[in-house]
């Protein structure tokens, strides 16, 4: 049996100022799965994400990626395996051109110039932005910058994709384009999101986090149909959205 793409076991964490944020969180993402991480603001979702690639180390518990434990010695390999796309693309696009941003990861992995160039064109093609390779990031629209941020991570050939609020500030067309890209990639994915319809569309399973503990871990359709559960954790279905009704296929 292959190791899960991501395994979080009883992770607890307190910030240096003493504030406890995670109280023993456990979750698993199997190979080929897409899982949504839901929860109100302040639940600890972003803190948990920072544990997945070793930016933060848990005070208790452990994280492993594809069987490899997240430890000081393995950090380079872990960060290659876990592709984290943060919420603000401007925080992740810090090089003079798009191509250089996408090349940043593979270059740090020690690949040759030719191999890096190959990864760059591969990654940009996967997100449909090969034509923008030589442009500075600030010349692109927000949706395009979001997609380039995804490409910067794809260039490292990750084994699991972690997305923090991927649809925030995206217009409907960009939102759809991103969904098409994610479906095409078919990588194990953990998606932190407030966009419940998006979670329902792309992630068969959802984990609900609140106050630093996992409150529910179920198929998304089931979780979103549980109004009582949602309400008690400050989640609400958008107006007009009913997860019990299948969307009409075009």
């Amino acid at each position: 049996m292959t190791a899960p793409a991501l395994e979080v076991r009883e992770v607890a964490y307190a910030y240096p100022d003493g504030r406890q944020v995670l109280y023993g969180v456990s979750l698993t993402v199997q190979q080929g799965e897409r899982v949504a991480l839901l929860g109100p603001n302040g639940a600890g979702k972003t803190t948990l994400v920072l544990h997945l690639n070793g930016i933060l180390m848990p005070g208790h518990g452990a994280v492993s990626v594809g069987g490899l434990p997240v430890e000081q010695d393995n950090l380079l390999e872990i960060r290659r395996r876990v592709g984290v796309v943060f919420q603000d693309p401007d925080d992740q696009l810090f090089m003079p051109t798009v191509a250089e941003d996408v090349a940043f990861g593979p270059t740090n992995l020690g690949l040759s110039r030719e191999a890096v160039a190959e990864r760059v064109s591969e990654a940009l093609a996967a997100v449909g932005l090969a034509a923008e390779a030589d442009r500075p990031p600030h010349h692109l629209s927000f949706g395009q910058r979001r997609r380039v941020a995804v490409a910067t991570v794809l260039a490292m050939r990750p084994e699991i994709l972690v997305l923090d609020e991927p649809t925030s500030n995206l217009d409907p067309a960009s939102r759809r384009e991103l969904a098409e890209i994610l479906e095409r990639l078919s990588l194990p994915t953990l998606m932190v999101t407030h966009d419940l319809p998006y979670a329902w569309q792309l992630c068969p399973r959802s984990v609900l986090l609140d106050d630093g503990v996992v409150v529910a871990d179920r198929p998304t359709a089931e979780l979103l149909a549980d109004e009582e559960l949602l309400r008690s954790h400050r989640l609400e279905l958008p107006y007009g959205f009913d997860p019990r009704v299948q969307p009409a296929t075009p």
Binding site: R79, F94, E100, P136
Partner: protein
């Protein structure tokens, strides 16, 4: 999304000067400016020769005189200082327009103005024909210390972002009927600046996290440049070579 601001003084073009790699241009500009600055004072013919060379390069680069003139505004403090010299210097006096001015002071003022103008003109040529990112990559190629290169690169990238932040804060502030009309309002301006600083600092921390997440090991490599051909080096070093020749001739003549 305002391209013009972060492209600095760059004026797009396809002239031979635009096409030269940045590091070659930096060396050429540096060499020429050193020649200009080392010229002895009162070598009027030398300064004219320099100006002629710059006129040729400006024409080849396709840059208009108005662009260069705008850059010369930076010189203003030096112009004011130069204007004081004839009044402050001693020595032989000469009468100009009814005012008694020092002959030496006048000559020194003229030399100062000439050198400053030529220096700024040369810099404007470099700025107008080179994209900021290419310039930073060129400086990296010239072995500028890694920390400086990284700092410059991030400055070029994030100047726009920070300026945008400031613009949005200012709009939000002015929308609440604020207008800075005097020292009473300086506290608000200071708070805005402070908030902008904190925001930018926190963004710096997030950028660092994003870099670590993509396996940053401490070395930032900029690829936005290419090695220069021998022909390009020869073309570029023409300018400092002429400068050096004129400077030497000026020294020999004194």
């Amino acid at each position: 999304m305002n391209p013009s601001r972060s492209d600095g003084l760059y004026r797009p073009g396809t002239s031979p000067v635009h096409r030269l790699p940045a590091h070659v241009k930096v060396v050429a500009v540096l060499g020429f400016v050193i020649a200009v600055v080392s010229t002895p004072g009162r070598a009027e013919l030398a300064f004219l020769a320099y100006a002629a060379a710059l006129v040729v390069v400006t024409a080849v680069a396709g840059i208009g005189p108005r662009f260069v003139a705008r850059g010369l505004l930076i010189e203003l403090p030096f112009v004011l200082f130069a204007a004081l010299l004839p009044f402050l210097a001693g020595g032989e006096q000469v009468t100009v327009l009814g005012l008694s001015l020092s002959r030496e002071g006048l000559a020194d003022a003229g030399t100062l103005l000439a050198k400053a103008t030529l220096g700024v003109w040369t810099s404007m040529l470099l700025a107008g024909t080179t994209r900021p990112q290419e310039l930073v990559a060129g400086l990296q190629r010239l072995r500028l210390p890694r920390l400086l290169v990284e700092t410059l690169s991030f400055m070029v990238r994030y100047l726009d972002v920070v300026a945008d932040d400031l613009r949005r804060m200012r709009i939000a502030r002015d929308s609440r009927a604020f207008s800075a009309r005097g020292p009473r309002h300086w506290g608000v301006l200071a708070s805005t600046a402070g908030a902008l600083f904190v925001r930018s600092y926190e963004r710096g921390e997030r950028v660092h996290l994003a870099m670590l997440s993509r396996c940053y090991t401490g070395r930032l490599v900029l690829h936005n440049d290419r090695p220069a051909t021998r022909r390009e080096w020869l073309t570029a070093t023409l300018l400092p070579a002429i400068g050096a020749a004129v400077a030497v001739a000026a020294w020999v003549a004194t």
